[in-house]
Amino acid sequence: MADKMATREAYGKVLQELGAEYPNLVVLDADLSGSTKTGEFKKVFPERFFNFGIAEQNMYGAATGLALSGKIVCASTFAMFASGRAFEIIRNSIGYTHANVKVCATHAGITVGEDGASHQTFEDLALMRTIPGMTVVNPSDGASAKELLRQVVAMEGPCYVRLGRAAVPFFYDEESAKEIKLGKGNTLREGKDVTIIATGIMVSEAMKAAEELAIEGIDCRVIDMHTIKPLDEDIIIKAAKETGAILTCEEHSIIGGLGSAVAEVTATNCPCQLYMVGQRDTFGESGSPEALKAKYGMTASDIYKGVHVLMKK
């Protein structure tokens, strides 16, 4: 196995497997099937793949109609256009009817890179988690993406799955990924001094930071919060009580995303020191994914610094 894979690549691969397992699975795209990897499904099941052209709103409306006719629908485009442009259709058609549509949105976050700010979504988790009944998932690597997508397709009801463009390191393998349960945070590293709750591609950054901090004698717990909604409140409350401080990190705005979701839980259950790593109320720009992560403060080094801030409080 390669040591890196983009979560969208995992999506393309698992779609081929799921297509064989679920004869009622249909896949839709809005002229981005090469990029979102739904084209992999089309190669094997062309009769169950529908391109809707550059018309995301109608794609999610039609996805609703297909779902209300007994289909499991995975409908993909870039996260910006799924969660942003089609938000109200996802809210009023998919969400309100609790239709079995999986909004599998790729190219989320700053790691879209060179395409620049118009394509870099930092708002999608915030938007999607406000829709009642919507499950919101943000896998951290290729292996967990495959496993979570399997669970998403197996469950009834609407889901938003956030997928990335850039290749990210594996830290799950096929066996360990099987431990992952939708709706349950996954503790990747035990620790008693501080808890780092990470989501998506920031999980690998969190693990790097935890290793460096361990050298200095700071014992970090690291949780992969792959499911933003329903949020695993128990694991957050336990972390707050046992470690006293939490750092959240996400490739998303700190307004409304994982950090906010964690704050909602701690503020009402077990107030504790919080530090949020994420996009800080600003648009992005063109650049390489790694350079952008550094400039906008979403790297292991930013997590490392944040933990030190927490430890001084």
């Binding site: 709103q57 409306g61 039609a62 109609g65």
Partner: protein, 272 residues
């Protein structure tokens, strides 16, 4: 064919629209009255449906894309036996199955939750596509408002219906010429409606939307058309059947008071 029975049914539907909107104290009588004949034609003849078995496998489905006209749909469904007519009084009240814009899953016969314009038509495209995929007989009908045609998603949906040759999809535009802020022509021109749909690959049929002979004939033509979706552009009058509501934009979203409601019911030949 004798259309008198349909005209009588449509009058009953109109009476129930007035009564339920009056009881609710709010709602959309104008656009409900304008599509009452089309609604009656669909539920009492055109559609293959069974009120005893509302989820029948190969049934036809209606999506009311102009969701604010749901008083017409509720009245027709109740008249057809989907739920007790008594329940129409609960329209828009707390805890009612009859939401101000219809929600599916509450009363039988509502196939889609609508209210946000344009979305119902888009959803009907997905339903028609699913029926094609599964080789199902069921046809899908969508009723759209004329003002609704201003929504971009309508044209995205139209493009896709044509692209996928959805000849099992029949849209009906309730062309009453008025929307909340006034005449379509003043607010935002939607003309030429027929040419627009034709350009998007539709089989276009223009009719008087209050004439049952023309309505049924149009549905027959739609069913006979193969390889492309049909749109029936039905010229109607907002508030049709009630003298003081007819062609008045002000009655788009306003409930009659008791005196007005009584007069309306009387004009429609109903009992108060």
């Amino acid at each position: 064919m004798d259309y008198k029975q349909f005209e009588e049914l449509a009058s009953k539907v109109r009476v129930d629209i007035i009564k339920s909107v009056f009881e609710a104290g709010s709602g959309h009588p104008g656009g409900s009255l304008s599509c009452a004949d089309i609604m009656t034609a669909l539920y009492f003849k055109e559609m293959n449906i069974d009120p005893e078995n509302p989820l029948m496998e190969d049934r036809d489905r209606l999506v009311l894309s102009k969701g604010h006209a749901c008083p017409a749909q509720y009245a027709a469904l109740a008249e057809r036996g989907y739920f007790p007519k008594e329940e129409l009084k609960t329209l828009r009240k707390l805890g009612s199955r009859l939401q101000g814009h219809a929600k599916m899953g509450l009363v039988p016969g509502i196939e889609m939750s609508t209210g946000s314009l344009g979305q119902g038509f888009s959803v009907s495209v997905g339903m028609a596509l699913a029926n094609k995929l599964d080789n199902k007989e069921g046809r899908v009908y969508a009723i759209l408002g004329d003002g609704e045609l201003q929504e971009g998603i309508v044209w995205e949906a139209a493009m896709s219906a044509s692209h996928y040759h959805l000849d099992n999809l029949c849209a009906v535009v309730d062309w009453n010429g008025l929307q909340i802020d006034g005449k379509n022509d003043d607010v935002m021109t939607v003309r030429p409606i027929e040419d627009k749909f034709r350009a998007f690959g539709f089989n276009v049929i223009s009719i008087n939307g209050h004439d049952f002979a023309e309505i049924f004939d149009a549905f027959d033509q739609a069913r006979a058309c193969k390889g492309q979706p049909t749109v029936i552009v039905a010229s109607t009058h907002k508030g049709h059947g009630v003298s003081f509501m007819e062609d008045q934009a002000g009655w788009h979203g306003k409930a009659p008071n008791e005196e007005q409601a009584k007069q309306a019911v009387e004009e429609l030949g109903g009992e108060w």
